[in-house]
């Protein structure tokens, strides 16, 4: 029996909902998004329920997570980025939960869908652009023309800069999607050998264990990369070069 490695990415409606001819069914994808929200919220609330001055294990973990993202924001954006902390933290938690929850067998990884990641990346770029215009007004357009460049070169530089600005959304989403997609396909392919090899199935099984650990690392790393790049774009919007 051949296992379809792409089957795991299928979006299956659980509760069909149609509004005005548009299909917004509650699918397995939506279920994992809700799970991400629930896990993030329940984890942080449970961890902070004691509000201990000397933290326990769970509270330490929550604080570490908080300080990790806060440190990332401070390092890449500076103090000006402090008010965007909830947004950056939400992005991090959403991507991290999507990646990590997706590592469990039979689960669905919404971060392996380009439409989801693309929407998030476009959301980040849109947010950053709004922040840039709010902070610098029309002067934000200088982003597309580096200071000191001769006016004549603007003909070439401005289209390039505009293109690279929007290419960020593309690279941000494609990087995350490709990483999650490839990892899951690889796991599924290797896993399909376990049954096929019979007694020698322990060899691909060992491979699965190793790959699983690697994938977990990648899941965390990609969440970090997505967030840190969002921070860098935010920095560029706040501080014009």
């Amino acid at each position: 029996m051949a296992i379809n490695a792409l089957e795991q990415f299928e979006v299956r409606p659980i509760v069909p909902i149609h509004v005005g001819g548009i299909d917004i069914s509650f699918s397995n994808s939506a279920l994992y998004m809700v799970a991400a929200v629930v896990v993030s919220t329940v984890f942080l609330s449970a961890a902070m329920s004691k509000r201990a001055l000397i933290p326990g294990r769970l509270q330490s973990l929550a604080e570490m997570l908080y300080e990790f993202v806060a440190g990332m924001l401070k390092e890449n954006v500076g103090d000006a980025g402090r008010k965007y902390f909830p947004m950056i933290f939400s992005i991090f938690m959403f991507v991290l939960c999507g990646n990590v929850l997706g590592q469990t067998p039979y689960s669905f990884t919404y971060t392996s869908h380009i439409i989801v990641n693309g929407a998030m990346a476009l959301g980040v770029i849109a947010m950053v652009t709004v922040v840039g215009f709010a902070k610098h007004g029309i002067g934000f357009l200088n982003t597309f023309l580096p200071s000191g460049a001769p006016p004549l070169t603007a003909v070439i530089i401005v289209p390039i800069e505009v293109f690279s600005y929007f290419a960020r959304a593309f690279s941000l989403s494609v990087r995350l999607t490709a990483n999650m997609l490839v990892g899951h396909i690889m796991l599924a392919v290797v896993a399909s050998f376990i049954a096929a090899l019979g007694v020698f199935g322990f060899i691909p099984f060992a491979g699965i264990v190793g790959l699983g650990v690697l994938e977990l690392g990648i899941a965390c790393l990609q969440a970090y990369i997505f967030t840190v790049l969002s921070c860098i774009y935010l920095h560029d919007a706040l501080h014009l070069h």
């Binding site: 990415f9 998004m33 001055l53 604080e63 933290f89």
Partner: protein, 164 residues
């Protein structure tokens, strides 16, 4: 590939928006302020404790300085007292020594006078005793009763001759 199936796009985008906005609201209004408050409180507590430690340290240092000053003062006062008492003692001892010396020398002079007097007296009697001894010797040897009174000038003459 299911990723490129447009029929799922609308529902995924819709639920992405719903869940992400929910997450943002929950994080920004509920979860993060809690963590932030605790961290801030802890930081405040730590800096308060550090401030207090600093204050106590400076208080301790002031107390040590005061103690050392008092100790130095007490030491110099004690030193002054000791030297005063020692001077007084030395003066008294010298006075007593002098007085004792005077008494002793007076006693020495007196004793010497006694000795001289006794010597003289003894010397005065020596002549008589020698005469009596001479008379006794004469009586033993010669069997003649000699008169001591009469012998005295002779004894004296002999003594003078021998230089006694």
């Amino acid at each position: 590939m299911p990723q490129f199936d447009p029929t799922s796009f609308a529902s995924q985008l819709f639920w992405l928006a719903v869940t992400f906005i929910t997450l943002y609201v929950l994080m920004s209004k509920v979860a993060l302020p809690r963590v932030g408050d605790i961290l801030e409180e802890r930081q405040k507590r730590i800096s308060d404790d550090l401030d207090m430690a600093e204050r106590l340290k400076s208080e301790t240092e002031a107390a040590i300085a005061a103690y050392e000053k008092a100790l130095a003062e007490a030491r110099s006062a004690a030193q002054a007292e000791i030297s005063r008492v020692m001077d007084a003692n030395a003066a008294e001892a010298a006075a007593r020594h002098k007085k004792l010396e005077e008494q002793l020398s007076a006693k020495i002079t007196e004793s010497e006078e006694h000795i001289h007097a006794a010597h003289r007296e003894a010397m005065a009697e020596v002549g008589g005793i020698a005469a009596e001894v001479a008379a006794a010797i004469v009586e033993r040897i010669a069997g003649v009763k000699a008169d001591a009174e009469g012998l005295a000038p002779v004894v004296e003459a002999i003594a003078k001759e021998r230089g006694i």
